[in-house]
């Protein structure tokens, strides 16, 4: 079975909510929808206080090429447009909407007949994706329409669908594939047409055998779609690692996957594309895994964007008393949440409630040069060295050691026997070095 070549770790996958059916979350009383839920420029608000909106109404317009539209996820009245603390505690602009009923925009066809043939051209599909504000649903939230338009001179050969879900605990993609396999495959076909490729590979880790079997059955009737089971290894869900695992090509440092002829999209994105093209439904809801070892009912929930995390936690049985940290995303790459009333966003794949005993950091010790971090680094970096360089603020040397290549998977911190916060330092070094590099290229 295939996997990527360099580094990687095997954390306990703890998929507590695997096989749990998707539940629809009841509408909250109020949603607060951030205007910056994607990488790139924040969208500009186009509604005012007191406006009536329906589910699917555009509330913020994309500004610039790398940006995405934001739509209302509920029907109701705009209560205020204000800066509210997000999950990290920093204040960001949000549109707060009081929920009244559940009315959708007229052109949204909620039933959606099960079409399999489309007469849309690549440009038409991309335009619709852009209007619907679809972004990478795996968590990176890069606007999808930008990815589907390769820069001049580059040709895409293969569409890679990321259904790896290598983060422990998370099961939202798994649940999606089990319950909406047909829709996902239509979404993949639409993405293939948009990217003008005739070959798609869906990479799934081998701990989701039922999903692999189901998709293989359904895809056997379709041309050009290949289901590829992958050996379990973290961080296989990273773009560069997945390309290496599936087609054996290495994306050069600093380059995009299109350099080796690949376009990578998340399986959740494929489903969102299906919803947009067939049902005319913009991206206003997503499946979120709510999980944790002490949580009463770990589950996969279909939830409207803008719902407070606290409502979702309450829906899954309430916050356990021994909770030490609430993490947005998975335990490896997710971030600890400071404010549990922060809203669910387009890129929120899960909420993880870590018991105190598991979430506490251990006191750091001296580096014993065991080299474990070097052997697990999937980008072939030397994390122990990078941490030292960043500690001493030796930015030039850190740049020579390619600190900018780090994808922040956290394997080094996970494996370090001295519990050194390697990733914390490397992430800081990466952002500083990249800033220095940008300033330098701006000067030229």
């Amino acid at each position: 079975m295939r996997t990527f070549k360099i580094g990687g770790i095997h954390p306990n996958d703890a998929k507590l909510s695997a096989g749990v059916a998707i539940e629809v979350m009841p509408l909250p009383l109020q949603v607060s929808i951030p205007v910056a839920q994607h990488i790139g420029a924040p969208a500009t608000v186009v509604v005012a206080k007191g406006d009536k909106v329906k589910a699917g109404t555009l509330i913020a317009q994309a500004t610039g090429f790398v940006s995405a539209n934001v739509h209302s996820s509920v029907s109701g009245t705009v209560a205020k447009i204000d800066n509210e603390p997000d999950a990290s505690g920093n204040r960001r602009q949000v549109v707060v909407i009081d929920v009244e009923g559940d009315e959708w925009e007229e052109n949204v066809d909620l039933k959606g007949d099960f079409k399999r043939t489309f007469n849309l051209s690549s440009e038409e599909i991309i335009a619709k994706i852009k209007d619907a504000g679809i972004v990478g649903m795996g968590g990176a939230t890069f606007p999808t329409h930008v990815k589907l338009m390769p820069p001049p001179g580059k040709v895409a050969e293969v569409l890679i669908i990321n259904a790896v879900e290598c983060e422990p605990y998370l099961t939202s993609d798994h649940a999606l594939m089990l319950e909406h396999a047909d829709e996902v495959l239509i979404g993949v076909q639409l993405l293939m047409r948009a990217a003008k490729v005739n070959r798609a590979m869906i990479g799934i880790e081998n701990n989701k055998k039922d999903a692999i079997k189901l998709l293989q059955e359904k895809a056997s009737k379709l041309i050009g779609i290949e289901i590829c089971p992958l050996r379990m290894k973290y961080p296989q869900g990273s773009e560069k690692q997945l390309i290496d695992a599936l087609i054996g090509r290495q994306v050069p440092s600093g380059a995009l996957p299109i350099e080796v002829g690949a376009i990578v999209q998340n399986v959740g994105t494929a489903y969102a594309v299906y919803e947009t093209i067939v049902k005319n439904k913009p991206l206003v809801e997503r499946i979120v895994t709510v999980t944790g070892q002490s949580l009463a009912q770990p589950k996969n929930v279909l939830v409207r964007i803008g719902t407070p995390m606290s409502a979702l936690i309450a829906f899954a049985g309430g916050m356990p008393e021994n909770t030490g940290k609430v993490i947005a995303g998975g335990p490896m790459m997710g971030r600890a949440v400071v404010n549990v009333d922060a809203p669910i966003q387009k890129g929120s794949s899960g909420i993880l409630l870590m018991p105190e005993a598991l979430s506490e950091r251990v006191e750091m010790d001296n580096c014993i040069r065991c080299g474990k971090c070097v052997s697990v680094c999937c980008m072939g970096l030397q994390p122990y060295l990078l941490m030292n360089l960043v500690e001493k603020k030796m930015w030039q040397e850190a740049e020579q050691e390619a600190v900018y290549d780090c994808l922040e998977c956290g394997s080094c911190s996970f494996t370090c026997p001295a519990h050194r916060p390697l990733l914390d330092y490397i992430r800081y070094g990466k952002s500083t070095v990249m800033r220095i590099m940008r300033e330098r290229s701006a000067k030229k």
Partner: protein
């Protein structure tokens, strides 16, 4: 014997020949350097801290020779500048000594913690991750990046978790200003007898939000701006700022500030004049 003689003669001739070339080359390509640069460098502290904005003490000395206008060695202060001026035979323009000021008073007592940070002990790293341990996303992290940046041992963490600047040791080199990811530390005029007034808060949230997060935060109520007779105070983005070039240390703003966000340093206790009248 012959061999030794020949080698001595050959090497001697080569040596004399090379020396002649070097002599003329040195004459032709001589770099004219002001001898005063060396003299000035000798009286400078030699810390090469870069606080003056020039690359090390020699760079500063070179700049002084060209023009003394507005030059100040932050480490040596006026004593050193007088010596420099004596070497150059010029009058030194009296520059105000500066000092680093921490514009946050959000100790644990005033600013309740809402979460606990257990990551790497560095303000820069914490600030890249999230807003901070309290409801205020502008205030001091208390992880001591400024302490580490100070070459003169002038900053230490106080008992209340906020950095304390030692006025006597601070040379206003500005290293801590650069190290603080929240831009809390500012270089301000030291003032007569180290007396100075500044707004001890940089919170730009609305007054209600600030008040909820911290009991000594600036809520942008504009009272100080109206009170100031010298138009030294401006309120921008819900936060007041005192221009130290205009402030005349009358302390009227301190009295009207409802949250005690304005700090007065090193003043003698106020006489209770008004009550007696």
């Amino acid at each position: 014997m012959n061999i030794i003689l020949i080698s001595v003669i050959v090497l001697g001739v080569v040596g004399i020949f090379s020396a002649t070339i070097l002599y003329f080359a040195a004459q032709k390509f001589k770099v004219e350097e002001d001898a005063r640069i060396d003299e000035i460098e000798a009286v400078l502290p030699g810390a090469n801290c870069g606080g003056c904005g020039y690359p090390g003490c020699r760079g500063f000395a070179d700049a002084c020779v060209r023009s003394l206008e507005g030059k100040l060695c932050p480490v040596g202060g006026s004593a050193v500048m007088n010596k420099v001026a004596a070497i150059l035979g010029a009058e030194v323009s009296a520059a105000d000594p500066m000092v680093a000021v921490v514009r946050c008073q959000g100790s644990c007592e005033h600013r309740a913690k809402t979460n606990r940070y257990d990551g790497a002990k560095s303000c820069a790293i914490a600030s890249a991750l999230y807003a901070g341990e309290t409801g205020c996303s502008f205030g001091c992290f208390g992880l001591g990046d400024c302490v580490g940046a100070c070459q003169f041992g002038a900053i230490a963490m106080g008992a209340d978790g906020l950095p304390v600047v030692d006025d006597d040791k601070c040379t206003a080199c500005g290293a801590c200003v650069k190290a603080c990811p929240k831009n809390i530390i500012e270089l301000r005029k030291k003032g007569p007898k180290s007396r100075r007034i500044y707004v001890g808060c940089v919170n730009k949230d609305k007054g209600v939000v600030t008040r909820k997060a911290c009991s000594v935060g600036c809520i942008g109520c504009m009272k100080c701006q109206k009170e100031c007779p010298f138009e030294a105070i401006t309120v921008e983005n819900n936060c007041a700022y005192i221009d130290f070039t205009k402030c005349r240390l009358c302390r009227k703003c301190v009295a009207v500030c409802p949250t005690h966000a304005i700090v007065e340093k090193n003043f003698p206790p106020k006489k209770e004049v008004s009550e007696q009248v």
